[in-house]
């Protein structure tokens, strides 16, 4: 109820139950798919000591195991996107502590899970949803099915931060 957009009254009411929300994991807004959004994806570029560069996508297009495993990785990307949104919308804005913490944590984890990495650069890109008109037009032109994974369906990766693996 207190999730924006909301009134002062709603927020006050929701605040009164903050203890309940925290203690019992309640208080969600349940505003599922109010407007189907593009899907954020993490692109991590790892630089090794020998100069080699490795790119890791979270999630990769194919993740072994049950689909839920990939779904959790999509949630990771979404969390980083949400935390970085203020910065993405206004690059001059000072980074807030949560964004810094989450991006650093992601970077540290990537460094640890990729031994030999010297630094990691995190970027976010979005997988777009095509409009029906575009699908019809391209299908007419190519005569084949529309490719949802065509390069044009992804936004340019946007920089989140460079993180050295030595923790500095």
């Amino acid at each position: 109820m207190g999730v924006p957009p909301s009134s002062v009254l709603e927020r006050r009411f929701a605040d009164a139950f903050a203890w309940h929300h925290g203690l019992f994991d309640q208080g969600y807004a349940y505003r599922y798919y109010a407007e189907p959004p593009p899907t954020p994806l993490i692109q991590a570029t790892l630089r090794r000591e020998d100069g080699e560069i490795e790119t890791v996508n979270v999630p990769e297009r194919h993740v072994a195991g049950p689909p839920m495993r990939r779904q959790r990785q999509l949630a990771l990307a979404n969390a980083l996107f949400s935390a970085s949104l203020p910065q993405l919308e206004d690059p001059d804005r000072e980074g807030d502590p949560r964004r810094t913490w989450l991006a650093r944590s992601f970077a540290r984890h990537l460094c640890r899970s990729h031994p030999g990495a010297e630094s990691v650069t995190l970027r976010l890109r979005q997988h777009l949803i095509p409009s029906p008109d575009r699908v019809l037009e391209e299908s007419r032109e190519t005569g084949g099915p529309f490719d949802l994974f065509a390069p044009s369906m992804f936004t340019e990766p946007r920089w989140i931060g460079d993180f050295p693996c030595d923790g500095s």
């Binding site: 203890w19 925290g22 807004a29 599922y32 839920m68 495993r69 779904q71 959790r72 949630a75 984890h109």
Partner: protein
């Protein structure tokens, strides 16, 4: 003016009284715990599955140096938030994970239901708080269901091993008592259908209210999205490349279909919180919700668990009597089987005690053949044949005996249905008949047994007679 004031006061008094009565009726009338038991079992399965999948990358998620390092995640918790995972050292993470899986497994089968329901909720909330960055709608629904199942304290009163074991103990205790004319009672004290309880009603009501709120909020929020007004919102969900596994781009040429699906799902979410409370429209709402969530699961396998969780939550609105009738049949179809067993045989009594304990209603009617004239049950029966092997008489008049009778009983009891299906496979049937006849022919009895009274014969001589299936139409 005076009249106006008096009427206003009377109205306010009546309103308060009506509200008070309605509140009590809504929350505190005893309810059939069957739906709650089923929800408990399914929450256990979903919780097990979710944690199992997290366990595939255990240290990435729950380790102190995972995607969200423990210190940062701890600081990011909301006020009053908590998680036991913060206190599990990395070296013990796998052990704690296995223990948590055991909790979910126990919850699913209904063993120590009251305790495991609370523990399962603790594990779920701990996980939610430890890795809020890896969650999606499924986790919210699971957490909510687990909370109300735990709060009710009544989820083990149906569809649980707890209840089965309690009833089995009662049935065996009863079976040990010799009654007039030597007959034995091999069933538990209470009926198969679980006793209604206030706890079950509170749990179900909280789930129902929460579910109506979820649909209502989801529907209202969608009204802010232009694509829900233009009728193209489902295009976006069906053609988000990261979620879709089937190609739905062909729907671009069918905008009316997309409009119909979009408006239909939005309409359902908006009217659900209202129409779900009316008996006549409730099945329509539940069917719509099931179709909606199955559709989501088909469109996006990654969200399949979310769809299943929502369907499970909808069980809160389903009548326990109806749910039970799916496996036990309607009232007028029971007892489906009349079982003639040897009341003088301890093993037979124990078997019947187990069958009656597992009976979801009154599917099986055990009849001690030593205390009756078996011809009153079915004219084709003889005492000798019945003493040789267990006989089952269906409502249709069909008579089965020996191993076939055992699998027939199993097929009518939900707990044993999988075993009964396996037991009817070619090869298993033949082996089962031989094994049954051997066991039946060497079974101990309370009284000294002679060939004349018990019909104990070498297995070869009883095989044909004991396992033969007869149909009343052939008599």
């Amino acid at each position: 003016m005076r009249r106006f004031l008096i009427d206003a006061i009377v109205y306010v008094r009546d309103l308060a009284l009506g509200f008070s009565r309605g509140w009590s009726r809504f929350f505190f009338l005893p309810a059939d715990p069957t739906p709650l038991g089923l929800i408990r079992a399914l929450v256990g399965v979903l919780g097990f599955w979710s944690l199992f999948v997290i366990g595939l990358d255990l240290h990435d998620y729950l380790g102190s140096q995972g995607w969200s390092d423990a210190a940062g995640a701890y600081d990011a918790m909301p006020p009053f938030g908590w998680s036991l995972w913060f206190y599990v050292p990395d070296s013990l993470l796998r052990v704690a994970w296995l223990a948590s899986l055991a909790v979910f497994a126990s919850m699913a089968v209904g063993l120590f239901s009251r305790t495991t329901s609370i523990l399962a909720w603790i594990v779920i909330v701990s996980t939610v708080r430890r890795i809020p960055i890896a969650l999606f709608g499924f986790d919210q629904i699971l957490s909510t269901m687990a909370l109300y199942v735990a709060v009710s304290g009544a989820s083990g009163r149906a569809v649980s091993l707890d209840r089965l074991l309690k009833r089995w103990r009662e049935a065996r205790r009863n079976a040990a008592v010799v009654r007039p004319k030597g007959a034995r009672k091999v069933s538990p004290d209470g009926p198969g259908r679980p006793e209604p309880s206030v706890g079950a009603n509170i749990g179900l009501r909280l789930l129902q209210l929460h579910l109506a709120f979820i649909y209502g909020m989801a529907g209202l929020a969608k009204l802010r999205g232009p694509s829900w007004w233009t009728g193209m919102a489902l295009w976006g969900t069906m053609n988000a490349g990261e979620f879709a596994w089937l190609d739905f781009t062909w729907l671009a040429a069918w905008p009316m279909v997309l409009n119909l699906l979009t408006h239909g799902s939005l309409a359902l979410e908006i009217v659900y919180p209202i129409l779900i409370w009316f008996r006549l429209t409730r099945p329509l709402m539940i069917a719509g919700a099931v179709a909606l969530h199955l559709g989501i699961a088909v469109m996006s396998p990654g969200l399949a668990e979310f769809g299943v969780a929502m369907i499970v939550a909808n069980v809160a609105f389903v009548s326990g009597t109806w749910l039970r009738s799916l496996v036990a049949g309607r009232d007028d179809e029971q007892p489906a089987l009349r079982v003639l067993y040897d009341g003088a045989c301890p093993r037979c009594r124990a078997s019947m005690a187990l069958a009656t304990a597992a009976d979801p209603d009154r599917v099986v009617e055990p009849i001690d053949l030593t205390a009756i004239d078996v011809k009153t049950i079915h004219p084709s029966l003889t005492a000798e044949a019945c003493l040789r092997s267990m006989h089952v008489v269906s409502r249709s008049g069909k008579v089965e005996s020996g191993y076939d009778a055992v699998t027939r009983i199993g097929s009518r009891l939900p707990l044993f249905r999988p075993l009964a299906l396996l037991g009817r496979l070619p090869g298993v049937v033949q082996a089962g008949r031989v094994a049954y006849n051997r066991i039946a022919s060497s079974r101990p009895r309370d009284a000294v047994c002679t060939d004349e009274t018990c019909g104990i014969h070498p297995p070869v001589s009883v095989t044909g007679a004991a396992s033969r299936t007869r149909d009343s139409s052939a008599i």
